[in-house]
């Protein structure tokens, strides 16, 4: 084993670190990767871009040994290698960091690092901790190896994972959507760390949905579309462009002729709906208080009129989830009132609130939004189990269930092999469409959207935002929780800012909104 990792380190400095040669990967009915050839060079941050389902994850899985190519080969330091297992990939110096932390939360960072080592030896905690500190310092970050993993932010955990990979001798690091769940500040830190890793002569592969990050941190960009490599930008070209040019070029590569429509995302102000200030609100939240160990919520006062979108801005973890769950009925309310069309609902069950017309589009799509092993058709009815016409006297009516599913699948453009496909097998964007199809019915009066576009690709982001606009156009009351300020500015009529469980201010969405929301978020004027 030691010999192979030596092979990976003793590479020809002029050759690529890892090369993918004509690699194809077939799944039943799908060609996930179609003859892809990419060189990954040392000293570069190589950004992989593509919509959800373009084949990025498949490619990464093959590089990390979780999947094996159907055709073609992968070369490490110029030598063809069979990456038969994740262990093999690690031995060859290929490390990966993912969107979700892979560290055991109940152990300290140092203990996590000791996990991969010989089980019969007592872990040398102090030695490992020193080594960790040294490795971290060598790439310009500080970490506390004694800290319990669960006490750290996701950003800190991911830094630790990178340090762990470096300690294992990784010369080639894959960051698979590693910034997706980070706060903007942590994402920036990770970006800078990436740059330093590349400067030290390592190879970095960075997968992201955020074009800004791609342009800011990448040296070279490759774009995948429908399993094919459709182009990219070399370091020379990328350097020659300014950021806007680069973004336009990437969007053109990712979406082909559809550039014009995706430009829409940059145009902030869609025509504003007219909100009648005297109209009776649909959703009224009065002095709401919710218990929580980490972030108790209090002092929430919001009124949403028909056709109005009220945004909730704030960094992740400031009580947004608690608020959404309390409104939906998944979490008890300690004090305060919630009225839906004048009816107090704070003591009503989840089902009763839904029947009154309250919908909740959760951001925990896989965790609570769907049952992954159940077919799409049943997931579309998860909140209507037992209702006619899909069940009669408690008996399933397969024809009705299938009809409903076909209808929703085509109305919401859910891309699925069939309505019997387990929902967990769909891509993130399609799972979100499934949730939207389930939550946006005709009876719906008020909708809570929790981070509705997070983790989605550009096209699905646009589709989701259109659904939010449509909901408001249909005179529903919309509460839009988002961590993306641009999204809130694009969609909302008013924006409330949440900080440490309280709403610290509500501003009308006009020219000065960006400035004022930013001030409220950063604590100015408190």
């Amino acid at each position: 084993m030691a010999g192979t990792s030596a092979a990976a380190t003793a590479l020809d400095p002029n050759g690529p670190l890892v090369s993918v040669r004509n690699v194809s990967k077939r799944f039943p009915g799908i060609l996930a990767n179609d003859r892809i050839t990419i060189d990954f060079w040392p000293g570069e941050v190589h950004v992989l871009l593509g919509e959800n389902g373009a084949g990025k994850s498949t490619l990464v899985s093959m590089l990390t040994g979780f999947l094996q190519p159907s055709e073609g080969q992968i070369e490490v330091a110029g030598v063809p290698q069979d990456l038969a297992s994740p262990q093999r990939a690690l031995d060859l110096g290929i490390g990966a960091v993912y969107q979700h932390s892979m560290l055991a939360p109940t152990l300290t960072l140092a203990e996590n690092v000791s996990l991969g080592r010989s089980w019969w030896r007592r872990p040398d905690r102090r030695g490992i901790a020193d080594e960790m500190r040294k490795t971290a310092a060598s790439v310009g970050i500080t970490i506390r190896p004694e800290a319990l993993t669960s006490a750290l932010s996701l950003g800190e955990r991911q830094q630790a994972e990178i340090v762990r990979a470096l300690m294992r001798g990784s010369r080639f690091l894959i960051l698979d959507e590693a910034t997706a769940m980070l706060t903007p500040k942590d994402a920036e830190k990770l970006g800078n760390l990436m740059r330093r890793l590349a400067q030290d002569g390592r190879g970095v592969v960075f997968i992201t949905h955020k074009l800004n990050e791609a342009v800011s941190y990448g040296d070279r960009i490759s774009v995948l579309r429908q399993g094919k490599q459709v182009g990219g930008l070399t370091p020379e070209r990328l350097r020659a462009m300014d950021k806007d040019e680069a973004r336009d070029e990437i969007v053109r590569l990712m979406f082909g002729a559809r550039t014009a429509s995706s430009e829409m995302t940059k145009v902030a102000s869609a025509p504003r709906r007219r909100i009648d200030g005297t109209e009776k609100p649909i959703l009224e939240i009065l002095a709401l208080e919710v218990d929580d160990d980490a972030t108790p919520v209090s002092g929430i006062d919001v009124k949403i009129r028909p056709g109005e979108i009220v945004g909730i801005a704030g960094i992740d973890g400031n009580g947004q989830v608690q608020l959404a769950e309390a409104l939906a009925g998944q979490r008890p309310v300690r004090d305060g009132r919630i009225y839906l069309d004048g009816v107090p609902i704070e003591d009503k069950s989840i089902g009763a609130r839904r029947n009154l017309g309250l919908s909740y589009v959760t951001d925990d799509r896989l965790g609570e939004g769907i049952v992954g092993t159940f077919p799409v058709s049943l997931n579309l009815l998860l909140k209507q189990i037992g209702d006619t016409p899909f069940w009669k006297h408690g008996l399933e009516q397969p024809l009705e269930i299938a009809r409903n599913a076909e209808e929703k699948v085509s109305a919401f453009d859910i891309r699925t092999p069939g309505i019997g496909t387990p929902a967990g097998k769909l891509s993130g964007g399609n799972i979100q469409k499934l949730l939207l199809a389930r939550e946006l019915g005709e009876k719906t009066r008020a909708v809570i959207f929790a981070k509705p576009t997070y983790g989605l690709d550009l096209q699905n982001i646009e589709a989701s935002r259109n659904r939010i606009r449509e909901a408001a156009d249909a005179r529903k009351a919309v509460l839009l929780i988002s961590t993306e300020l641009d999204e809130l500015l694009e969609l909302s009529d008013r924006i409330a800012v949440m900080s440490q469980g309280r709403i610290v201010g509500i501003v009308d969405n006009n020219e000065t909104a960006r400035q004022r929301v930013g001030e409220l978020m950063s604590g100015v004027g408190e």
Partner: protein, 365 residues
């Protein structure tokens, strides 16, 4: 945990290909199911030869007794009644993601209360009414014994594996005490309850000695299978089992459903006890505790909670256990050798399952 059934078949484009694939799958399925049985026979034969017994004689005798001789078949079918009810009990809870491993106590308590009530009731009631009442008593006794674990799990989130197993120790002892101190038949020297006359037991089928308990068992497994797969109630339970967070999100009363699942599962286990007494033994002896549940657990798992496959496995188990009880007397092979055979079979089946899953993963990927 389970492979959910698709509601609509896929489009018929690759029909020919999929038919070929299906034939391949069927062959594979056959190997996966029959293979472990054959391998078990081979391994057990070696052990028998080491013990100086001819395996041909032994297995020939078992199959002759368990499946060919009229009295053996009848005993096999009679034994299937309680076993099938226990299997139904396990399918309910496992599919709802709940590990009720306390079936042994629920079974024996159901049996004890039925054995105590039967002879008393038959004196004042017509037989059919006594039987109905006794079946309800058995189910109720089992269900009551699961309430503590049920509430602890539903409202405190306490792991039911531990609590149900602890309740098994308590329940087994309680049953023993009840037989020795409370329900003791004063007319015998052996500590046991009064015995229900053969004519007062569950009716036999036609002219055989097969107890109609087997019909109750078959009905229970089939009803459970149908309920879990085709009704709104079953779907709710499956959602709780497959993703409890999604169940909360969808507004299902998870705590209430949990208690209901425990009651149903334990009720079926208690019913199994009732059927064992009313159909087979007629009384409960203080030293009687067949502890069927933990043997049925792997069978139900290997059947992937499918009702029909469960029935097949339970039949096989019944044949082996009845046949080997006779073989023990005839050939001097200890009765426990059934357990050796069964354990070998279960392990080999698990191995086959593992191979099968690897294959499916390969196909998927």
């Amino acid at each position: 945990m389970t492979s959910e059934m698709a509601i609509a078949p896929d489009s018929g484009e690759n029909e020919r290909k999929s038919r070929l694939n299906m034939r391949d799958d069927r062959l594979h399925f056959l190997i996966i199911t029959i293979g472990p049985v054959l391998a078990t026979l081979v391994i057990a034969s070696f052990i028998l030869m080491a013990m100086g017994v001819s395996p041909l004689d032994y297995y020939g005798y078992i199959f002759q007794r368990g499946m060919l001789s009229p009295s053996g078949v009848q005993a096999t079918l009679t034994r299937m009644g309680p076993l099938l009810l226990i299997a139904a009990s396990l399918i309910v809870c496992f599919r709802a993601g709940i590990w009720n491993l306390g079936g042994d106590a629920q079974f024996i308590l159901g049996a004890v209360f039925v054995a105590a009530a039967g002879p008393e009731l038959v004196a004042i009631l017509p037989v059919w009414l006594m039987l109905l009442l006794c079946l309800s008593i058995g189910a109720a006794a089992g269900a009551v014994w699961s309430l503590v674990p049920a509430f602890l799990r539903a409202y405190q989130g306490i792991n039911e594996i531990i609590t149900t197993m602890m309740m098994t120790f308590l329940g087994g002892s309680l049953a023993n005490v009840l037989v020795k101190l409370v329900f003791l038949d004063p007319e015998t020297t052996v500590p046991q309850t009064r015995t229900l006359a053969v004519s007062d037991r569950l009716p036999r089928l036609f002219d055989t000695t097969v107890s109609s308990g087997v019909l109750l068992g078959l009905a229970a497994v089939l009803i459970v299978h149908f309920t879990m797969n085709r009704t709104a109630f079953g779907l709710r339970l499956r959602i709780v089992g497959a993703n409890a967070k999604a169940a909360v999100h969808a507004g299902l009363p998870v705590a209430t459903l949990t208690v209901i699942v425990f009651s149903l599962s334990a009720g079926l286990a208690g019913l199994a006890g009732a059927v064992a007494v009313l159909g087979q033994t007629g009384n409960v002896r203080a030293d009687w505790n067949p502890a069927y549940t933990l043997t049925i657990v792997p069978l139900v798992f290997l059947a992937r909670f499918n009702g029909f496959a469960t029935i097949a496995f339970v039949f096989l188990f019944s044949v082996l256990s009845i046949g080997s009880e006779s073989a023990a007397r005839r050939l001097g092979v200890p009765n426990y050798f059934t357990l050796v055979t069964m354990a070998t079979l279960l392990i080999l089946m698990a191995v086959a399952e593992m191979i099968d899953q690897r294959r499916r993963k390969r196909k998927e990927v």
